[in-house]
């Protein structure tokens, strides 16, 4: 049974459709890359999957023990976070916030898990450091550790390597790959087609023409696009 199935899903804002009828499914352990040009609606699709905004039509089914609010999310950085006074520890443990309901404080078990996730990301030496003093790559690891607190099954990553230099980008990809190998389903929005082809086992291309399938088929789809003038417009 699939963890996540989108059936003729039409995401959009204010009653206006941005994408028409997206169909795809994700099974446990998959590595799905969502690619497409700027403004094609990748982030809107992701927000719809996360339940941050309602879909215009179509449906999203969660299965295989996955609940909508049990998806770990790595958002793009916001302006607010740039000068936020908070330690790495405080941020990572806040990944549990949604699960606690009205319970006011985190349990000891949650704190330990948070610490383990910090170690898993290789940033345990930064635990007490202030978030705003870290480098871009370190900040992404912090947010990834927080996302791990929120989920055991699925991660959604919104351009995790945006603004990172090539070396740090490569490190980031290998961390994500190792998480995927440990059994966590990964859905990643990216501009980096070569990384998508290298790591993903499924690719969803968004634009005027939709594509969903294996990386191998995606190469053919791409060459089809370039035969039509190299551009999908």
């Amino acid at each position: 049974m699939s963890q996540l199935v989108c059936k003729s899903l039409c995401p959009g804002y204010d009653g206006k459709e941005i994408l028409h009828s997206v169909d795809f499914s994700v099974d446990a352990g998959d590595y799905l890359c969502i690619v497409g040009e700027n403004g094609s609606g990748k982030s809107t699709l992701m927000k719809t999957i996360l339940g941050l905004q309602p879909a215009i039509s179509g449906e999203i089914l969660y299965g295989d023990g996955l609940q909508r609010n049990k998806i770990g999310y790595l958002p793009q950085q916001t302006v607010v976070q740039k000068d936020f006074p908070a330690t790495v520890k405080e941020i990572v443990v806040s990944g549990f916030c949604g699960q606690n309901g009205f319970k006011p404080f985190y349990s000891i078990k949650q704190r330990i898990t948070a610490q383990n996730n910090i170690e898993k990301m290789g940033i345990s030496h930064l635990t007490k450091r202030c978030y705003r003093e870290l480098s871009g790559g370190q900040q992404q690891r912090v947010l990834l550790a927080r996302a791990l607190c929120a989920t055991e099954k699925m991660l959604l990553l919104d351009e995790p390597t945006a603004g990172l230099d090539p070396i740090v980008t490569a490190e980031m990809y290998s961390i994500i790959k190792s998480l995927n190998d440990s059994g966590i389903t990964v859905i990643m929005i990216t501009h980096d087609i070569s990384a998508a082809l290298k790591y993903a086992n499924k690719i969803l291309h968004i634009g005027q023409k939709l594509f969903f399938g294996s990386p191998k088929d995606y190469r053919e789809f791409q060459s089809g696009l370039s035969l039509n003038g190299g551009c999908e417009k």
Binding site: K47, L50, G51, L52, R68, N69, K70, I71, G72, Y73, P75, T78, V79, V80, Q81, D83, F84, P85, A86, T87, E90, I91, S94, G95, C97, G98, Q99, N100, P104, F105, Y106, K128, R129, C130, E133, R146, A147, A150, L156
Partner: protein
């Protein structure tokens, strides 16, 4: 007579004790949420909402309500909710929305006061407006009921803040992550908005409309110069705020200066000191 015996003498008057209690409580409450507001880019909400409260007071004065709390509190709460509960999705973003409501309410309030009080022949309009905006000596003329109201509301605010501390952190740091992982961000934004409105209505008695922003932002900004974790920043700004207000009140009682402006002046001095301290600490690290 030494300064201490003068102070001791002043504290034998119950109204001075009342003023001190209310001053300390209000500054404690406003500083707690100050950190969140500064980080959410809502530094000016104190100013904006206090203008709303001023507008509502004008309406209350004109309609002849003796206890204007009944109009001022609900109107301010509604405006705070409108401003804050929209969160990241609001149509008009943070600063513009605050500016709009603030200027609008100020203008309408003054207009109403001016037009209608001509009929009422209320004597000294500009002095009334001035004391509403800059705070008057009303903190020295608090009734026992007002003091108790303030104590109860402060206890509620502090308790709510401690109880929801982790949620407030989560919603402030990253609203979309919090929402995606199942935190009821709408609810907490609403809660924050209501608490802020209540604090501002309370604080108008102390420092007046125009100086409320200072109570909200100065302690938060000062402690952000030096401290690095959210918890230490919050605790430090609460301590700073209480200390500055107490000191400011003492000075204003001793020297006969206006209460509100004196407190803000103390806040500014502390901010300067903390900025310097922050620079030194960073320099030492390097």
């Amino acid at each position: 007579m030494s300064i201490f015996s003068t102070i001791a003498q002043y504290f034998s008057y119950p109204y001075v004790v009342n003023a001190m209690v209310v001053g300390v409580l209000i500054s404690l409450c406003s500083s707690l949420l100050g950190v969140t507001l500064v980080l959410k880019r809502f530094s000016f909400i104190g100013d904006g909402l206090s203008h709303v409260a001023f507008g509502a007071m004008a309406v209350a004065a004109v309609t002849g309500l003796t206890d204007n709390m009944y109009i001022v509190l609900p109107v301010t709460v509604i405006c705070a909710v409108l401003l804050l509960s929209g969160g990241q999705d609001s149509v008009i973003k943070g600063d513009a929305a605050v500016a709009m409501i603030s200027v609008g309410a100020l203008a309408i309030g003054y207009l109403i006061m001016n037009v209608f009080s001509r009929n009422l022949r209320s004597s000294n309009l500009s002095a009334d407006v001035c004391s509403t905006l800059f705070g008057s000596t009303s903190i020295l003329t608090l009734s026992n009921t007002e003091v108790w109201l303030c104590v109860i509301l402060s206890v509620v605010v502090v308790a709510a803040f401690i109880f929801f501390y982790n949620k407030i952190f989560s919603v402030t740091f990253d609203e979309s992550f919090a929402k995606a992982t199942g935190t009821k961000t709408g609810l907490y934004n609403l809660l924050i908005a209501i608490i802020i409105a209540v604090i501002i209505v309370l604080a108008m008695n102390l420092v007046g409309s125009l100086l409320i922003s200072a109570l909200v932002i100065f302690p938060a900004l000062s402690s952000m110069r030096v401290f690095k974790s959210f918890k230490s920043v919050t605790i430090c700004s609460a301590a700073l705020s209480v200390g500055c207000s107490a000191l400011g009140l003492l000075i204003s009682i001793l020297l006969g200066t206006p209460v509100g402006s004196t407190i803000v002046a103390v806040d500014i001095v502390v901010f300067a000191l903390f900025s310097l301290l922050g620079l030194i600490l960073r320099g030492v690290k390097k």
